[in-house]
């Protein structure tokens, strides 16, 4: 979750002021609310500044851009409940699909922008303590006895769902791997989780500041951020042999932009994410840029590792969500008593 309430509150205030200001500003269309997921705060703070400069250089009035951050599911929920987001930049397509299901966004949203509407990608890595005392090199090492693992709750956190699916994909790939062995692996992993936060940022806090657990399953960018923010902690990033290609998607919230008259601004905002300048900015914030040239520029910042997609392994988010995370799914079985 947020860092924690202050930012939640800031998001709420931003939302509230946007709501209050909406009628007056409908004509000038100079406010924009980006409802995003947990670890994107730093990136969007920088991107917003860059976008405002770009937009005003086109002779447009200076827009006020607010962002709100939280667990991806929670954020989508807030938009469903009436938070007047102009754009959503969430952790996974499923959460935007839920908005589409409720008529807030056109159903074919994912085809409206390049690269499945994911301007940057990320993956899941393992963050360990100084000197890697538990000798964690790959997913299999997590399942050893005595290793305590921190991850957010897949029910509420997009990042946690990627964590879970990455482990599942790895387990399928092992000799003799099947759905049954993969289920054993995730069950074993969650047995070794002492604290389940509701969002990625909350788990980072729990791992780094509260010193819980031996390893944090983390977004690649969040892991780098933790290294930067807490240099004295001596944390180390371990790249597993295989991980998942996380494609955090973005979309304009059609119903809100049409009501508020902010469509042009909102579309320009999202398209600007694909410019070389923004791709470079994403890379400096440890999101893997889609632009191959800029990815190459970044060099060793993004070590190559085998990345599988949700489409390949799980047949898309709809199926993955139903099988694994919905009530009564595989994840719920982990916590069923008597197992």
């Amino acid at each position: 979750m947020m860092t924690r309430t202050p930012l939640a509150r800031r998001g709420f205030l931003a939302a509230a002021s946007t709501l209050a200001a909406a009628p007056a500003l409908a004509q000038s269309a100079s406010t924009l609310l980006n409802v995003s997921y947990d670890p994107t705060r730093e990136f969007y703070r920088a991107f917003n500044t860059a976008f405002v400069a770009h937009w005003t250089s086109l002779g447009q009035p200076r827009p006020t851009i607010s962002t709100s951050h939280g667990g991806s599911g929670r954020q989508a929920r807030a938009v469903i409940d009436g938070l007047a987001a102009d754009v959503v930049t969430l952790a996974l397509a499923y959460d935007i699909d839920e908005l589409a299901e409720r008529g807030l966004i056109a159903r074919e949203w994912q085809g409206r922008l390049p690269e499945n509407s994911s301007p940057y990608t990320s993956t899941i890595v393992l963050l360990v303590r100084r000197g890697n005392p538990k000798a964690i090199r790959d997913w299999g090492d997590l399942l050893k006895p005595g290793v305590s693992i921190i991850t957010p709750n897949p029910k509420t956190s997009g990042g946690a769902r990627w964590n879970y699916l990455a482990l599942w994909a790895w387990a399928l790939r092992q000799p003799g791997g099947s759905a049954a062995t993969a289920e054993q692996a995730v069950t074993q992993l969650f047995r070794q989780v002492p604290v389940l936060d509701s969002g990625a940022r909350g788990s980072t806090t729990t791992f780094v500041q509260r010193a819980q657990g031996d390893v944090l399953l983390s977004w690649e960018n969040e892991a780098h951020l933790a290294l930067q923010e807490f240099p004295q902690a001596g944390l180390e990033i371990v790249y597993p042999s295989l991980s998942i290609l996380a494609e955090p998607p973005v979309a304009v919230v059609d119903r809100n932009v049409d009501r508020r008259g902010t469509r042009a601004l909102a579309e320009a905002y999202l398209q600007h994410l694909y410019t070389p300048e923004s791709q470079r900015l994403a890379a400096t914030h440890f999101y893997r840029p889609r632009d191959r040239a800029i990815l190459a520029e970044a060099g060793t910042r993004f070590p190559a590792l085998e990345l599988v997609t949700v489409q390949d392994v799980f047949g898309g988010w709809g199926g993955a969500q139903r099988t694994h995370f919905n009530d009564g799914g595989v994840f719920d079985r982990i916590y069923r008593p008597g197992r």
Partner: protein, 288 residues
């Protein structure tokens, strides 16, 4: 005498003709009921209607789920325990600030209200930082006794005592302040021991206030979310509170299940508060 009697007359006449000494009853009653309807009854009615879209069997299935039951046990159990712990602590605290004069008393008095004003998330974060096994208090406790407090049910309990205690203190304090010292002195002159005075004179007079404080503290604790989620660890079947489960269901877009849990919490809390209310009336009647 007659003048006084006639002076009293108009009110009596007024009552007979349906008029009151103070004006505006109709208006104020109307406003009160409208507000009550708007901010209490309508949301509650919405909550009561929402769950049934998954059918009675759906609601029953949600509520009998092992994970939901575990969350209920934790939420209600810890809230009751927190209220029970607050009872002697709150009484002691109220006693100290009303009956003794010492330097810093006013400061202490003001500190009691702090949990009312402090965002509960701040309190939760502070307690977690303090009690986690690398915290100022948590580290020595872990080293000396091997205790872990944060991310355990006991952490939940501590957070709930923190939010419940001020209600207990503030309920008891005014009654204690108004309780004439003469009563205690009279008991002493009639030969009562200090224990007897406390047990037979002071506590019975405080009982209704104690019950009020207990009810308020319990009610506050059972619905507490902000501070608890930080210290609880939020593990299904172990440290997951019912309000968190509601939020989780909402984030899974399962509104009906969330409403079902909410409604069940409401009904349970209402029954417990009703029982406390009846107990209070019985205590009052016993004294009258």
């Amino acid at each position: 005498m007659t003048a006084a009697a006639t002076a009293l007359r108009p009110a009596r006449v007024g009552r007979a003709t349906g008029r009151r000494a103070l004006p505006g009853l109709g208006l104020s009653l109307g406003v009160t009921l409208a507000w009550l309807g708007l901010i209490v009854l309508i949301p509650l009615a919405a909550l009561a209607i929402k769950p049934w879209q998954i059918g009675i069997s759906g609601v029953v299935a949600v509520l009998l789920d092992a994970r939901v039951l575990a969350a209920f046990r934790l939420s209600f159990g810890a809230a009751l325990l927190a209220a029970i712990i607050s009872l002697p602590l709150g009484l002691l605290f109220a006693w100290v600030i009303t009956r003794y004069r010492f330097p810093g008393r006013r400061l202490l008095d003001a500190l009691v209200d702090l949990p009312f004003a402090l965002p509960t998330a701040v309190a939760g974060l502070a307690m977690t930082a303090l009690l986690a096994n690398n915290g100022w208090l948590g580290a020595p406790l872990a080293a000396a006794f091997g205790w872990q407090i944060a991310y355990r049910p006991v952490g939940v309990l501590i957070a709930l005592v923190f939010v419940a205690l001020p209600f207990m203190i503030r309920s008891v304090e005014p009654v204690l302040r108004d309780l004439a010292l003469e009563g205690e002195e009279a008991a002493a002159t009639l030969g009562a021991t200090r224990m007897q005075t406390l047990w037979r004179v002071v506590l019975p007079a405080l009982a209704p206030a104690l019950i009020t404080g207990f009810g308020l503290g319990f009610g506050r604790a059972v619905g507490e979310y902000g501070s608890v989620i930080f210290i609880a660890g939020n593990m299904p079947m172990a440290t997951e509170i019912a309000p968190l489960l509601i939020v989780t269901k909402l984030e899974q877009y399962d509104d009906a299940a969330a409403a079902a849990i909410g409604l069940a919490m409401l009904v349970l809390a209402f029954l417990i508060l009703l029982a406390l209310n009846l107990l209070q009336r019985w205590v009052r009647r016993g004294r009258a």
